[in-house]
């Protein structure tokens, strides 16, 4: 019952309201002369320095869902759940040079979305539309999943009800507040709130990793308890180490997730909002601090095992909601007021990425659908207006997903989302380096990768939840006719097929002399930096808190 959790609820509510107030005030923070421009509303004026970018991208990549789902995975499957650590280590060296090129060319041409870049690079509004729709489709369920994070916390505090409306009312209210301040303040709201969110999460996790092992008999005892649990289960795939059959899955999942991460529109939004190439470079070394945090959070799953946590029942009879293990661990082991702080950290942690994701999806709609197909002569002010309204629509859609559909549906969609966003790698990722691919071939590759990826996901059963389809991302290689129990990450296979098809089709189309689009970028565009003469001075502002290197004079 919620009455037993009164202290937690009060602390949670107070912190939540405090952050909401910050969200509304954010419109005045580093205020531009003219907010009615997509660069201002959607990219914070492209002026964020090192610290703001660190908090913003960190808050964007390491979401509330991650903080709840990764330990839940460790709780259920063990070592395989730790893939989040190599994933978020390799991603930064992997994209180090790529993001710099993306930032420069976007700054030079005023691109707001990845589809903007593809449109100019390949001279193809159709390819840009495909990229935009892929981005929106991959982002929507991600927003819905942030709600799953908040719900896990609310459920643990006993804030539930019998009817659909009563159960979801707190989430609807939370998202209405979020929608209102995002509408007003744009990207400045999550940027400002991210400071509070991340500070709370760092405090909670530092306390957790020092205090909980002390209470549970030390780290050795925690790992031994997890080991004992996995040895007692009949499932062959779990354990505190990987086995022969899931190593390939572990490696391909980490690599595939890393390749996909900065193809998501919301992560690119965080990157494009930064002020200079140096800001991005420094962040590639600074963002792994969050990876350490994530690794420690993952281990909360084992602490929950050692503490004897039993997850709350799920939506359906006979199932358990393993996403509740971390909130329950806090509830069992922390004093009430500190559990309230921890819950607020998760709740607020959901708001930051949800806001950035809805802004990114709205920008895609505005730039690549509205302006391209509905109103070609839209002014900058009209673009900003449409984006603001679209961000509301996106959030209503996300809430509707959670309220009216089984949350499992959002989790399935998110799984698919990771695979489909990877299919934009040839056009967006490789497109930053080479113009060799033919626009028609990129579309053909996308179709092949999408088709194969969704088919493979459909084929995967999950014995634990007794589902025949969409049971995970680990595809058994025996379905391809190999005589082996090994599994592989679907996304990697799909993107490889995508690349092969795109390459072969490029050769065919070039041989057939099919007209290709023109490239609207020039080689120098990929290296422009803050302070270059040719850049439009309108968006240049001073007054950031981070010392800037003196801009090299030309």
């Amino acid at each position: 019952m919620w009455r037993n959790h009164l202290t937690e609820i009060i602390v949670f509510t107070v912190l939540f309201l405090l952050v909401s107030a910050m969200g509304f005030l954010a419109a005045r923070w580093r205020a531009p002369k003219d907010m009615a421009h997509l660069d201002e509303w959607g990219l914070g004026g492209r002026t964020f320095g090192g610290w703001i970018t660190w908090f913003l991208v960190g808050g964007d990549v390491y979401t509330a869902y991650t903080f709840v789902a990764v330990p839940a995975l460790m709780f259920g499957a063990g070592a395989a759940g730790f893939f989040a650590v190599p994933y978020t280590i390799i991603v930064y060296p992997l994209v180090f040079l790529v993001l710099l090129r993306l930032w420069s060319v976007s700054r030079q041409h005023g691109f707001v979305t990845p589809a903007d870049f593809v449109r100019t690079r390949f001279g193809s509004p159709t390819l840009a539309l495909i990229i935009a729709i892929t981005g929106i489709a991959a982002t929507m369920p991600y927003i819905a999943l942030q709600l799953v994070g908040i719900e896990a916390v609310l459920k643990t505090m006993g804030v539930t009800g019998d009817s659909t409306v009563a159960r979801h009312l707190p989430i609807i209210i939370a998202f209405a507040i979020l929608a209102a301040y995002t509408y007003q303040s744009g990207l400045r709201a999550p940027a400002l709130i991210a400071f509070v969110k991340d500070s709370l999460i760092y405090i909670v996790i530092l306390v957790a990793v020092i205090y909980l092992p002390y209470k549970l008999g030390g780290w050795g005892a925690i790992f031994d308890a997890a080991d004992a649990k996995f040895k007692a289960t009949p499932a062959p795939g779990d354990g505190i180490l990987l086995n022969q059959n899931n190593q390939l899955q572990y490696v391909t999942l980490a690599l595939g997730s890393a390749l996909a991460l900065f193809l998501y529109p919301h992560t690119q939004t965080g990157v494009l909002a930064s002020r200079s190439r140096a800001v991005i470079k420094r962040n590639m070394s600074a963002l792994p601090a969050y990876t350490l945090l994530l690794g420690l959070i993952a281990l909360l799953g084992y602490m929950a095992i050692a503490a004897g946590v039993k997850p709350l029942p799920g939506a359906k009879e006979g199932t358990v909601d393993s996403n509740t293990v971390v909130p329950l661990l806090f509830d069992h082991t922390f004093p009430d007021w500190f559990a309230g702080v921890a819950y607020a950290a998760i709740g607020i942690g959901a708001l930051v990425p949800a806001a950035i994701m809805s802004i990114a999806a709205a920008n895609l709609f505005t730039r690549n659908i509205y302006k391209e197909y509905l109103k070609k002569d839209a002014s900058a002010a009209q673009e900003a207006k449409v984006s603001k309204v679209a961000s509301l629509v996106v959030k209503v859609g996300a809430v509707a997903c959670i309220v009216f559909l089984d949350p499992q549906f959002s989790i399935d969609l998110q799984l698919i989302g990771g695979v489909i966003i990877l299919q934009t790698l040839p056009a967006v990722g490789l497109g930053l380096y080479t113009r060799w691919f033919h626009r028609g071939a990129l579309i053909a590759g996308w179709v092949a990768g999408m088709g194969l990826g969704v088919w493979m996901l459909y084929q995967i059963p999950n014995p634990a939840t007794k589902r025949a389809h969409f049971g995970g991302s680990a595809f058994p290689l025996e379905k391809f006719g190999f005589d082996t129990p090994k599994t592989i990450y679907v996304g990697i296979v799909a993107v490889l097929v995508n690349l092969v098809v795109a390459a072969l089709a490029t050769l065919a189309l070039k041989a057939g002399r099919v007209p290709d689009g023109t490239d609207g970028t020039s080689p120098g565009d990929y290296f422009v930096d803050e302070g270059d003469e040719k850049l439009d001075p309108r968006t240049r502002q001073d007054g950031d808190e981070v010392a800037v290197e003196p801009a090299p004079q030309v």
């Binding site: 190599p86 930064y92 060296p93 180490l241 350490l292 281990l299 080689p523 120098g524």
Partner: protein
């Protein structure tokens, strides 16, 4: 991915004259923290334990240091190679 294509700079058609490039031998260093964390043979074992952590966990967490070190080195070593003339 770390190697940009060789492209001739079209003289004069972009305004400030520059020899823009992000090529540097230091960039090859970035391959190290991509490949090493993807080799389970290096860390998929229980001993030696460190502060109670099986090797699987502390070694992978230690790779964070490898990642930070290499990106920092590449940033520092390529910063002074001014990209403009």
């Amino acid at each position: 991915m770390s190697e940009p294509p060789v492209t001739a700079e079209p003289p004069g058609d972009v305004s400030p004259p520059r020899e823009a490039t992000d090529r540097s031998p230091w960039n090859w260093l970035l391959i190290l923290p991509i490949v090493v964390p993807l080799a389970p043979a290096l860390f998929n074992m229980d001993s030696p334990r460190l502060f109670g952590f099986p090797a699987y966990y502390w070694v992978q967490l230690a790779f964070i240091v490898l990642g930070v070190a290499t990106t920092s080195v590449v940033y520092r070593m390529t910063r002074d190679r001014a990209v403009r003339s």
